[in-house]
């Protein structure tokens, strides 16, 4: 199972066979095409091409159509400063420049770049029927901030009714965007509201909760799924975010994933995140990316977790790092090896093997992920079993599964680095590839001959 079906399963908190993976590719896809953010985020064709490129490279289960939280603001009259290597920034706030809230109208979906991302959604839907397409909309609080600027923080305290009125308006905009995205083929509506990380739970409940709850209810009625994204340290609000009943919440590295897991699952909400965007994905290498992703996967687990970067990928994120994560996601064997090598690095206690060896018999240790779930492991164990048959009680063999602590310790003690591996009398003889049975027999015979001398 993959794509939307897998994500749906995760969002419904059912056990999955593989953790779904959703790289938050926004303007980064522009970089993949050699374009600036300005060129990329203003062209339907380029967005479709860029997302396709990302799908080809990163083999995801789901992907955003576009990651740009300025689209609605622009349609509402905020001025944007465009940049080469970033999504644009809002630089003017109409409500502080003489425009009254009553003058603002929910924009037509035909306006500005809204029609562009909807068209991109339709085309991508047609090209990728099984992939989960995320329609990202600007969260009502962040949009309110675009419209009013930072004055909103004090207005919340001094003139709360005005803020409620503004939030009513931005919620209407968000609902329009959500319904249009769903009509165009998006499977998941992600309400991206990073500015909520700046407020306390009480203010969140007062101003944000009624609005986003209404949006998530609407998405549910339209039989789509929803996710609530916050970038930034919003630890204080995870609980109240879950109470707004999204199908999923997604967070960045500012919040510990285990904390989010515990809170989200307690509320029956799935969760996602939080591979480190900057120090790992942007500035680190493939190895660091794999390790960080694995750590997330091990914390997240196979129930209700979606692996994703913390937020919009920095444009210059090396594609090799994301490809390394993609490879890891789809290769359980690689996950096992990495986990075991991690253990090697840590303070794992090595085993005393002095009683393990035998003067009269050949001892074979097979290090596997688990032969019941990993096909190459199974073939390797079978091969040893068949090779050993001819030698009767002169050979003892044993599988060590690194899913268990004992297996990891044995792997470290024997110095094994890849899975699966056959170790005969302490020698690493066959690594990764399943050898012909005759080769194993020859090794056993040679070891026996050595013992008999």
């Amino acid at each position: 199972m993959k794509g939307f079906e897998l994500i749906k399963k995760a969002m419904r908190l059912q056990e999955v066979e593989r953790i779904p993976w959703v790289p938050f590719v926004g303007s980064h896809a522009g970089e993949l095409l050699g374009l600036t953010a300005t060129e990329y985020l203003q062209s339907t064709d380029k967005i479709v091409e860029g997302v396709n490129k990302a799908i080809e490279l990163y083999n995801p289960d789901g992907i955003p159509v576009a990651f740009d939280l300025q689209i609605e603001a622009e349609a509402l009259g905020c001025q944007l400063a465009w940049a080469k290597d970033n999504p644009p920034a809002v630089i003017s706030h109409p409500l502080t420049e003489g425009i009254a809230i009553d003058d603002l109208k929910v924009p037509c979906a035909c306006k500005g770049r809204i029609s562009m991302v909807l068209e991109a959604t339709r085309r991508l839907r047609e090209q990728h029927p099984d992939l989960a397409l995320y329609g990202l909309i600007t969260g009502p609080f962040t949009l309110a901030l675009h419209l009013l600027g930072t004055d909103i923080f004090m207005q919340m305290m001094m003139e709360p009714d005005k803020v409620h009125k503004l939030m009513r308006f931005t919620t209407n905009v968000a609902k329009m965007m959500a319904s249009k995205y769903i009509e165009s083929g998006a499977d998941i509506i992600a309400v991206v509201d990073p500015m909520t990380s700046q407020i306390d739970p009480l203010s969140f409940e007062t101003f944000v909760t009624p609005c986003v709850t209404e949006i998530f209810d609407m998405v549910r009625e339209a039989e789509a799924l929803s996710s609530f994204f916050v970038c930034g340290n919003a630890k204080q609000n995870i609980e109240v975010m879950c109470q707004t009943k999204p199908d999923n919440i997604s967070i960045d590295e500012n919040i510990p994933l285990d904390y989010v897991r515990d809170v989200a699952l307690r509320h029956n909400v799935s969760f996602g995140g939080n591979i480190k965007l900057t120090v790992v994905l942007l500035m680190g290498d493939e190895e660091a990316s794999r390790r960080d992703a694995l750590e997330c996967m091990d914390i997240g687990g196979k129930k209700g977790f979606i692996l994703a970067p913390g937020c919009d990928l920095a444009m210059a994120t090396p594609k090799e790092n994301l490809m390394a994560v993609a490879e890891l996601v789809h290769d359980e064997l690689l996950q096992g090896e990495l986990r075991a090598s991690e253990a090697n690095v840590g303070n794992i206690e090595l085993m005393d093997l002095s009683n393990h060896w035998d003067n009269n018999r050949v001892v074979i240790d097979i290090i596997t992920l688990d032969s019941s779930s990993c096909a190459p492991c199974q073939y390797m164990v079978n091969a040893v079993s068949r090779a050993a048959d001819d030698f009767g009680d002169k050979v003892v063999y044993q599988e060590h599964r690194i899913k268990e602590v004992e297996g990891v310790r044995m792997m470290a003690t024997l110095g094994v680095q890849n899975l699966p591996t056959i170790v005969i009398d302490g020698n690493i003889d066959f690594v990764s590839q399943i050898p012909p049975i005759q080769d194993i027999k020859d090794r056993i015979a040679a070891c026996l001959a050595a013992k008999q001398q």
């Binding site: 290597d85 700046q198 306390d200 204080q236 120090v279």
Partner: protein
């Protein structure tokens, strides 16, 4: 007088601007920073006393609570507004008197970056703690920082960035500034920045929150 100072410190801590301000609800109908500052000055307190005994202690509590995550941006802005209201009374007195500020802090969001919430919070908190703050705004170039340092050679420079792409410009600014002024202290902050990055680019200090900047400045000043 002590009692009034303590009441004023509370107004700063909890963001009570003046008598008519509806915030915070539990201070309703009471006088705020505006009235109490006027009152203590009328009673003969010096501007320096008001700063040291009420405003700075109040602002310090705000900084600590923000760091500990018990209050957030809206509450800090209310406190800053209360502080500013009090400063309206003090500034003319501070200017004519021989009041010693603790130092000068030059702050700006780096080139290419237009975000200012974090920078403004730091500026307010530092000012509230008795420093002169020169706020250069957003999208500030290397040259602008260099020119400012030439004008205020004893200052400490603070750089802010919100974006992963503009944090790289911090490196350029730190390098250039240190080349021209080897002893110039530069501190950095912002969402994508951390200690590791600070060491890498040769800045002197990284703070995760405004109070950290105040602590750093206080260490240098002492």
């Amino acid at each position: 007088m002590e009692e009034l100072f303590s009441k004023l410190a509370d107004c700063i801590e909890f963001g009570k601007i003046d008598e008519v301000s509806p915030y915070p609800p539990n201070f309703k109908g009471q006088t705020g920073a505006d009235e109490i500052t006027a009152q203590v000055l009328a009673k003969g307190a010096s501007a320096q006393d008001v700063l040291n005994n009420a405003l700075i202690p109040g602002m310090e509590k705000v900084g600590v609570k923000f760091r500990e995550g018990t209050i957030f941006v809206p509450q800090v802005l209310m406190s800053a507004k209360a502080m500013k209201t009090a400063m309206v009374h003090l500034k003319p007195l501070l200017k004519q008197g021989n009041v010693k500020q603790k130092g000068t802090f030059v702050i700006g969001t780096v080139e290419g970056d237009l975000h200012d919430i974090g920078k403004n919070l730091v500026a307010m908190m530092v000012e509230g703690n008795g420093y002169e703050v020169i706020d250069m705004g957003t999208d500030v170039s290397v040259d602008a920082f260099v020119q400012q340092i030439e004008k205020t050679p004893d200052c400490v420079v603070g750089l802010s960035a919100l974006l992963t792409t503009t944090m790289v410009n911090m490196e350029k600014i730190v390098k250039n500034v240190k080349e021209k002024f080897p002893h110039q202290k530069v501190c950095i902050g912002g969402a994508p920045v951390n200690n590791e990055f600070c060491d890498k680019i040769g800045a002197d200090n990284y703070s995760a929150d405004p109070q950290g900047v105040v602590d750093f400045l206080n260490t240098l000043a002492s």
